[in-house]
Symmetry: C2
Subunit: 358 residues, 2 copies
């Protein structure tokens, strides 16, 4: 098997304080209360596509011990500890250069560690299709999520309309497509839109959410980085020892893979997308967590030993607590972790990062 999975696990999840903290961020938390942390769920959903020895995690040096503990079956030398956070382009480049060193014929999926997928079977089908496509081509593929609402919090992928006429005609029922044939060329990447634009995207039918899940073979991505970001490619060539990493990596250009490679490559007509509908969420905020949790009859979603009296529309996470009693709350976030506690109206959740830092 030449398939490799790169899991990006360097985020700090500040919007979920105190559930997620810089010391123990979101990707290492059982945020859904299902018994598995987000990074464990991420590994789980790739099982069958790739043997365990072909998984890679790129994370902050501070989280290496957590990764080892949560993923004991991972090869230790596949946990890449970033000495500094340099955004996704250097992170992905490092992993792909390392994979190329081990397996020059590798076919690679890159994924965030902290998203959720409610239909892993469909996920594996889509990723399998994309891998089959990149195994035999130099395509750069990004997974495009079929939007269910005019979301303003995500970037969008504009699909080339010349290729998606059937997609539109069939009313977006992706299940009618054949593998490979589902894959479309990307016309352009679009920044997070305002609501009016997002509504236009939703209506147009050829705009998909950019989930940050990429598929390519290792030769394609390393050459693309050489082409579009030669400075990062040359930094990678210099990183031969652990000491080199310590010296070079923190000096790498701090840039996302989207700006560094995807956008210029799309402009050159080299980027493809696989439209997908597998119940994806980036779990970027409490609203999306509430959305994914099972709700009681009063629309409360709660993780932990939580007794609710006269509560509605609440989202509660207190997995460590032995007993939580909430009475008379409507539309609140309640989050308890260790010796920290947040109670906050759901309408004010954008202030949580500020609260946590004060």
């Amino acid at each position: 098997m030449n398939n490799h999975i790169v899991i990006m696990a360097g985020g700090i999840g500040s919007r979920f304080w105190p559930l997620s903290t810089p010391e123990y961020p979101k990707q290492f938390i059982d945020i859904l209360g299902c018994g598995r942390t987000l990074i464990q769920l991420t590994v789980d959903r790739f099982k069958g596509l790739c043997p365990m020895e072909n998984f890679w995690v790129v994370t902050n040096a501070a989280y290496v011990d957590i990764v080892r503990k949560q993923l004991p079956e991972m090869p230790e030398n596949h946990i890449l500890a970033e000495p500094a956070a340099r955004n996704t382009a250097p992170c992905i480049a490092w992993a792909c250069w390392r994979i190329k060193g081990e397996d020059p014929g590798a076919n690679v999926v890159v994924t965030p560690a902290d998203a959720v997928v409610m239909n892993p079977e469909e996920f594996r089908r889509v990723i399998g299709n994309a891998l089959a496509f990149t195994e035999k081509s130099d395509a750069i593929v990004t997974i495009g999520i079929k939007p269910s609402r005019p979301e303003t919090g995500y970037g969008y992928v504009e699909v080339d309309t010349l290729n998606v006429d059937t997609l539109i005609r069939s009313g977006n029922d992706l299940s009618t497509y054949q593998p490979i044939n589902e894959i479309r060329r990307v016309a352009a990447f679009k920044e997070k839109p305002d609501l009016e634009t997002a509504e236009k995207y939703l209506k147009a039918g050829n705009y998909l959410w950019n989930a940050g899940i990429f598929v390519w073979n290792v030769k394609t991505i390393t050459e693309a980085i050489k082409t579009y970001k030669p400075n990062i490619a040359s930094d990678m060539e210099r990183m031969r020892t652990a000491a080199d990493v310590q010296e070079v990596f923190p000096q790498c250009e701090k840039i996302s893979i989207d700006y560094a490679v995807m956008e210029p490559a799309a402009a050159d007509g080299r980027v493809y997308t696989h439209p997908a509908d597998f119940g994806w969420s980036d779990l970027g905020n409490w609203a999306s967590l509430h959305d994914k949790l099972q709700k009681d009859s009063a629309n409360n979603g709660a993780v932990g030993k939580v007794d609710l009296y006269e509560c509605k529309n609440c989202v509660v996470h207190a997995e460590e607590a032995s007993k939580v009693v909430l009475q008379g709350l409507d539309g609140y976030i309640v989050s308890a972790k260790g010796d920290r506690l947040l109670v906050c109206k759901r309408s004010e959740e954008q202030r949580i990062k500020e609260f946590s830092q004060k």
Copy 2:
């Protein structure tokens, strides 16, 4: 010094869950956030009236280690561990029989461990007066708190009006009275009244709150128990060894000192009260804690590292938490302890015991 202090510390404080639990109840908590627990504050306020070696604590066997830790200067053999809770009459009888064995000329104050007094200097003056009175008489004295509101949660002491005419004429300004002369005869004890009755008591001026603080010499109380509850007195005579205590104490009649001694003795005209105004509260519920805590400009009282945003009229206790953020709460109790949490409207606090037991 013949003065002895008996601290009753066997309560379980179920109305303050999860701050107070049966494993670690209210009297052992720094409920005011002042750096001292309620039992430590109780000891503190008697300092100067009685040397440390004359303090006694009667508590449940389960709390002996906590008492030792919180009051390391207490003589170990003065911590009396009740093998079972039998209400206050056997508890007080046991302590007084033990004191009589050590010091037949002892003069005794009995106090709960979990009340607060905001003016300890005035407290010492009042207790000093009462001790001076019982040193030279066989009076049974209960401290009567001058009521500040028509409270329905306390029992009342009716003061003999023949003795309180000056009290009424002076507008209840107790500071104009001379020591000893302040002490009045008790006409009767009154059960917790309904609101209408409580308002009458407040208006009448000769009704005081029964604080459960008693003063007497040890000869007086042991003889009174012999007179009014000979069965308890004879149980006490049988408790010579630790094994006797284990056998006899759990069989003692379960009865309060009020029913066992105070009421029949009052009917015999043998009970006196010292009216007092030293900022007493039994801290019996969250409302009384809110009352005693320092409030911010929005009427929130908080103990712990608590950041409040758009909150008002809240009472918060989270002394162990490293950071608590509360936003948008009006009139709530928030209590966090160990791995337990309560958020509850203040108007619903009478349900807390039920919540904690479910």
